[in-house]
């Protein structure tokens, strides 16, 4: 009875304390709210600017809601050959790259997850070493050139096909989620390695496959640098990011997209609009997909951090 009373008193005290820390919670919400605003506003601004009259955007009238709503920018971007070809190329490169990367990474990771595999430490050491030391940009370029891959899509698929970090994440996953006993008993029943991998291990590993597809997919969709060094003058093969670079950073907005505007000031306004729209159009696939796949990324980071 008295113990109950004591704990009740403690609880009231705790509640009281919590009430007393309202100031902390108020500040906490304010701070996190501010962070939220700082991160979200630039993205929101690009979105509203892509729908607004560029003259009003450029004079600072569009800050909270879109004004002078127009779809001119979207019309121009969707009719632009360079962007549309880049989009198509990026989809092809991403699908192909993810296909090769995921299969090779998962196969190798599964094999290396087996503690009984002879020479496993040697393979692991050779792989981990490449995370910290490599030939560098120029020797790698010379190898790709020697293989006659420059100017082809393969120069964007193979040189970065397996990311050691991803391999280690997948290996850690297999190590912790496929029990040795399960395999041993399956093998006693005459199950071969391949059968076990296909029929038992893979169905248990959907999460890690999703993780690999996302890690590789996002990286391939977002990169431009390899395309810039390896594709050179083959503009028709440029992925979206390289086309975007020309528009956003090199400021090469094509005459077609500018339409029949000839006044320099108006051209500049329209170029700004085109830039905002290009950002939205190219970031859209990832941003729309992101909330649904977020948990896989978080999981991947966590598995990776255990190793770190």
């Amino acid at each position: 009875m008295s113990a109950n009373a004591a704990s009740a008193r403690a609880k009231t005290k705790a509640m009281h304390k919590r009430e007393g820390s309202n100031l902390f919670h108020f500040c906490n919400y304010c701070f996190l709210g501010l962070i939220l605003f700082i991160v979200a506003y630039p993205i929101y601004f690009v979105l509203i600017a892509s729908f607004s009259d560029p003259a009003m955007v450029n004079s600072g009238q569009v800050l909270a809601i879109p004004k002078g709503i127009t779809l001119e920018g979207y019309k121009a971007v969707f009719q632009d050959d360079a962007i549309m070809t880049g989009y198509k190329n990026s989809i092809i490169y991403t699908v192909t790259g993810v296909f090769f990367s995921t299969i090779t990474t998962v196969l190798a990771a599964y094999s290396l997850s087996r503690r009984d595999l002879p020479l496993r430490p040697v393979f692991m050491m050779l792989i981990v070493f490449t995370m910290y030391f490599g030939g560098g940009m120029i020797p790698t370029y010379l190898v790709v050139q020697k293989l006659k891959m420059t100017g082809t899509m393969w120069s964007l698929i193979f040189p970065g096909m397996i990311v050691p970090y991803n391999l280690i994440v997948a290996r850690t996953f297999f190590e912790s989620s496929i029990p040795d006993e399960l395999r041993e008993s399956a093998q006693l029943d005459g199950c071969t390695e391949w059968q076990f991998f296909k029929e038992v291990a893979m169905p248990l590993s959907k999460a890690v496959i999703a993780m690999m597809i996302l890690f590789y997919g996002v990286a391939q969709w977002n990169t431009y640098f390899n395309a810039m060094i390896y594709l050179g003058r083959y503009q028709a093969k440029y992925p979206l990011q390289l086309v975007l670079r020309n528009i956003l950073i090199e400021n090469q907005v094509s005459q077609e997209m500018l339409g029949d505007v000839y006044q320099a000031a108006l051209q500049q306004e329209r170029a700004g609009l085109i830039k905002y729209v290009s950002i939205i159009v190219s970031a859209a696939p990832l941003m729309i997909l992101y909330p649904f796949v977020q948990k896989h990324f978080v999981k991947g980071v966590l598995i990776g951090s255990v190793k770190g």
Binding site: G20, I35, G60, L142, V301
Partner: protein, 322 residues
């Protein structure tokens, strides 16, 4: 006796059989490894053999193996060039500023998120602040140059609104003093949320009983953060800090390359972009050997640093386990 022998034989036979079966099964596992072995061999280890061009005068006729040896010529040229100290200084400035300003924020965010009463609010904040991590470098730099443009950029417009001075037109992207700030702030904006994931995970491992009994003892939120939360994520903090320190010489080229222009070059040229400029840049005569030498210098120093800090980290991790 005879019986025992046959038994032994039988056992040996079975053992052999099992070994055979095992070898057979490993053969399949090695098959799984073949694509990876090919990949690492061709695209990771063959280029390492190509590092020798750093000590040669690479020419197209001789190739990697046939070009003449020149010893340390390229390294000496690099260390004697004015650009050498410029790129090392820029690299260090940017990465140290990134460490000083970028490292604490994810920790603070994770600590505060952990204390929010509304889990839904925390979820919304997390979802939004992880998102910029998935935006490409091209788009980030595109946004920067739009926002920071001298006449039409939103930042100058806001400055004009606040100060009432209509003539304000700062060229942010062309300024050498502002360059490291712009780079570091945009980097923090993009990654602070994502980098907080690790700490959030470490915090979720803290036993709620600790907090409950601290509350009973009358500890305030701040006290609980300082005496329970921070000590429990300390190992994570220290190890990440040490590992990040090991990477001070590595500034990724993807983003910084896009932010460069002739006006800010003296502040924006870092080692990795300089390697690119020497080999592919339009402004200089392409020199693969010189470029490879600088790249090698960077990776050797980075590797040494990483090995050192890794030792420290291991020592610390061992200590923290005791």
């Amino acid at each position: 006796m005879k019986h025992e022998m046959t038994y032994d034989k039988e056992l040996a036979k079975r053992g052999r059989k099992r070994a055979m079966a095992r070898a057979k099964s490993y053969w399949q596992l090695y098959l799984f490894l073949i694509p990876a072995i090919l990949y690492f061999g061709i695209f990771r280890y063959v280029p390492m053999a190509g590092i020798q061009i750093a000590f040669k005068d690479y020419n197209l006729v001789g190739g990697i193996w046939g070009s003449p040896w020149v010893g340390l010529k390229h390294f000496i040229r690099f260390f004697n060039s004015a650009d050498c100290w410029m790129v090392i200084r820029n690299t260090l400035t940017i990465s140290i500023m990134g460490l000083v300003f970028g490292f604490p924020l994810p920790i603070i965010i994770a600590l505060l998120l952990n204390q929010t009463r509304s889990k839904r609010f925390a979820k919304v904040v997390q979802t939004v602040i992880y998102a910029p991590h998935f935006i490409s470098a091209v788009i980030i730099v595109g946004m920067l140059s739009l926002f920071l443009a001298p006449s039409t950029g939103i930042l100058n417009q806001i400055l004009r609104l606040i100060t009432g001075d209509k003539t304000i037109s700062i060229m942010f992207m062309g300024s050498t003093t502002m360059f490291p700030w712009i780079y570091v702030i945009s980097e923090i904006w993009q990654n602070m949320g994502y980098n907080s994931i690790v700490y959030t995970a470490a915090l979720s491992g803290v036993s709620p009983e600790l907090h409950e009994s601290a509350i009973v003892d009358g500890a305030s939120v701040l006290q609980r953060i300082f005496y329970i939360d921070i000590p429990s994520i300390m190992p994570t903090i220290v190890i990440l800090l040490i590992m990040n320190t090991g990477r001070v010489l590595t500034v990724g080229y993807e983003k910084i390359f896009l932010m460069q222009n002739p006006l800010n070059r003296t502040a924006s040229e870092v080692i990795s972009t300089y390697v690119y400029q020497q080999a592919f840049g339009a402004s200089s005569v392409p020199n693969f050997s010189y470029s490879a030498a600088i790249g090698l210098f960077e990776s050797v120093v980075s590797l040494t640093l990483l090995l050192i800090v890794n030792k420290i980290a291991k020592k610390y991790a061992d200590m923290s386990l005791v």
